[in-house]
């Protein structure tokens, strides 16, 4: 579904990504872990072109997307949902409006259809009573669940998660991970940058370790955590587990 070929990304003089070649299949749940500054968020943000790669190719459903025009980039982004560390809900809009804004403005749904979809999604994330609340009235965990619902409203084929639980109070991490697990069980293709090793073990179909701008090791979660081979990964796991 997503093919990445020799992807690099420089910020000014710093080489953040140093040539990544990856393939992500439909239905896969890829969890990316690694120390901060390893380029894992940048890699994720390149997939939906929130960052423009310096070189290399990204193919989405066989189509090269790194040299598209803005209009076509927007088309690609409609098919990839993204969830951010800091939720980025729209504070001036009600929860329901947060969810319906994009599908309605992008003419994917009529307003009443979008409203119905929003209520379905709110049921799904367990917050149907918050439809008319505003983001400021929600807890962090609730905000992130709404952010996930907002991304799902566009019926994306892939969901990208950029450290979705890193900004949450510990007691709220569970509810968000639970929702992500549900999503995974429903067959969603997911790429998740996270520090939640439990989630990686339980949900991932493949775990990737990134450091210094490259993928140093990847494996099924079982092998990945039981038999890490790369010394950097061994060191990293010894610190976080």
């Amino acid at each position: 579904m997503i093919d990445v070929k020799n992807l690099t990304k420089d910020f000014e003089k710093t080489k953040v990504l140093r040539g990544i070649t990856e393939h992500i299949d439909k239905g896969e749940k890829v969890v990316i872990i690694g120390p901060s500054g390893s380029g894992k968020s940048t890699f994720l943000r390149c997939l939906n072109l929130m960052e423009t790669p310096t070189s290399g190719e990204i193919l989405f459903d066989g189509k090269e997307i790194t040299h598209l025009h803005d209009k076509e980039i927007n088309q690609v982004r409609m098919r990839m949902g993204m969830v951010f560390q800091h939720f980025n809900l729209f504070p001036h809009l009600s929860i329901k409006q947060n969810i319906t804004l994009a599908p309605v403005k992008l003419k994917r749904m009529a307003p009443d259809q979008a409203d119905k979809k929003a209520m379905e999604l709110l049921e799904r994330v367990g917050l149907p009573d918050k439809a008319n609340a505003y983001p400021a009235q929600l807890s962090g965990g609730q905000k992130q669940r709404i952010a996930i619902a907002r991304a799902l409203a566009m019926n994306p084929e892939v969901m990208l998660f950029d450290e979705p639980t890193s900004a949450l109070d510990p007691e709220m991490v569970g509810e968000v991970l639970q929702l992500m697990k549900q999503l995974a069980d429903d067959g969603m293709t997911m790429v998740v940058v996270t520090h939640e090793m439990g989630f990686a073990k339980e949900v991932a179909s493949r775990v990737m370790f990134m450091a210094e701008g490259v993928v140093m090791e990847q494996n099924s979660p079982r092998e990945f955590f039981r038999n890490p081979k790369n010394p950097r990964l061994k060191e990293f796991l010894s610190k976080v587990l």
Partner: protein, 229 residues
């Protein structure tokens, strides 16, 4: 001459109060239209500048905007008014009030632009990213997500700019517009007493500014209460 007599002479005799009343109307008309022009210009410039700063697009329009801001904010409004009247519109038969609206509108636009740009830049870049990640284009994200928040944040500052403009129009007399200030001055030149006419002018400005400032304060409190919901 006692106060009553002086009052009668300055305001009642020969219907001199009409200089103040007509002047006030002119002042309010110029201010209202200049505020509108300033807002339109200011928002336009602010959007161009913040677009350039965030996306590095619109380089040429941004350069023009920067030139505009530097020139307008770097020169006195009276000089701008005189140049627009005596140089730019020198050979065009045109209403002076219209010239004043243009001059004060262009002047105010520069200050509005910087206020609004500050408002736009103060919105977390995550808002832009969230909008774009959903597939909205830059214009849609600005229109539905960034600008509504920025506008709310800068509303009190914009209202204050309008109040400042109300006072600044008092130099309209330089191109012989009979605004409120000029009205008081005309009375002074007729009655040869400066005290009452000029005090009356000052009092009228003060009342307007105090009332408008109160309204802005109320607006600010309401917006703040809105944020806590």
């Amino acid at each position: 001459m006692n106060f009553a007599e002086s009052f009668r002479q300055n305001f009642i005799e020969a219907d001199r109060w009409r200089y103040l009343w007509d002047g006030l109307c002119t002042t309010l008309l110029i201010t209202a239209l200049a505020v509108c022009l300033g807002m339109i210009l200011g928002f336009l410039v602010a959007i161009i500048r913040s677009t350039y700063l965030r996306t590095h697009k619109l380089l040429i329009p941004d350069l023009i905007c920067r030139l505009y801001l530097t020139v307008i904010r770097g020169t006195p409004v009276v000089v701008q008014l005189l140049i627009i009247y005596f140089v730019i519109f020198a050979s065009v038969p045109i209403s002076k009030t219209f010239v004043a609206v243009i001059a004060f509108g262009i002047n105010s636009g520069a200050y509005v632009a910087e206020i609004v740009r500050g408002g736009i830049m103060s919105i977390d870049v995550g808002q832009l990213e969230a909008g774009r990640s959903l597939g909205l284009n830059y214009t849609q994200t600005m229109a539905y997500i960034i600008m509504p928040q920025a506008f709310k944040n800068v509303l009190p500052a914009l209202a204050n700019e309008a109040i400042v403009l109300l006072k600044e129009t008092s130099v309209a007399g330089y191109i012989a517009i009979a605004d409120l200030t000029k009205g008081g001055d005309i009375i002074r030149s007729q009655t040869f007493s400066a005290f009452l006419p000029l005090l009356a002018v000052a009092a009228i400005y003060l009342v307007m500014v105090v009332v408008l400032t109160r309204l802005v304060g109320r607006l600010e409190r309401r917006l703040a209460a809105n944020d806590r919901r």
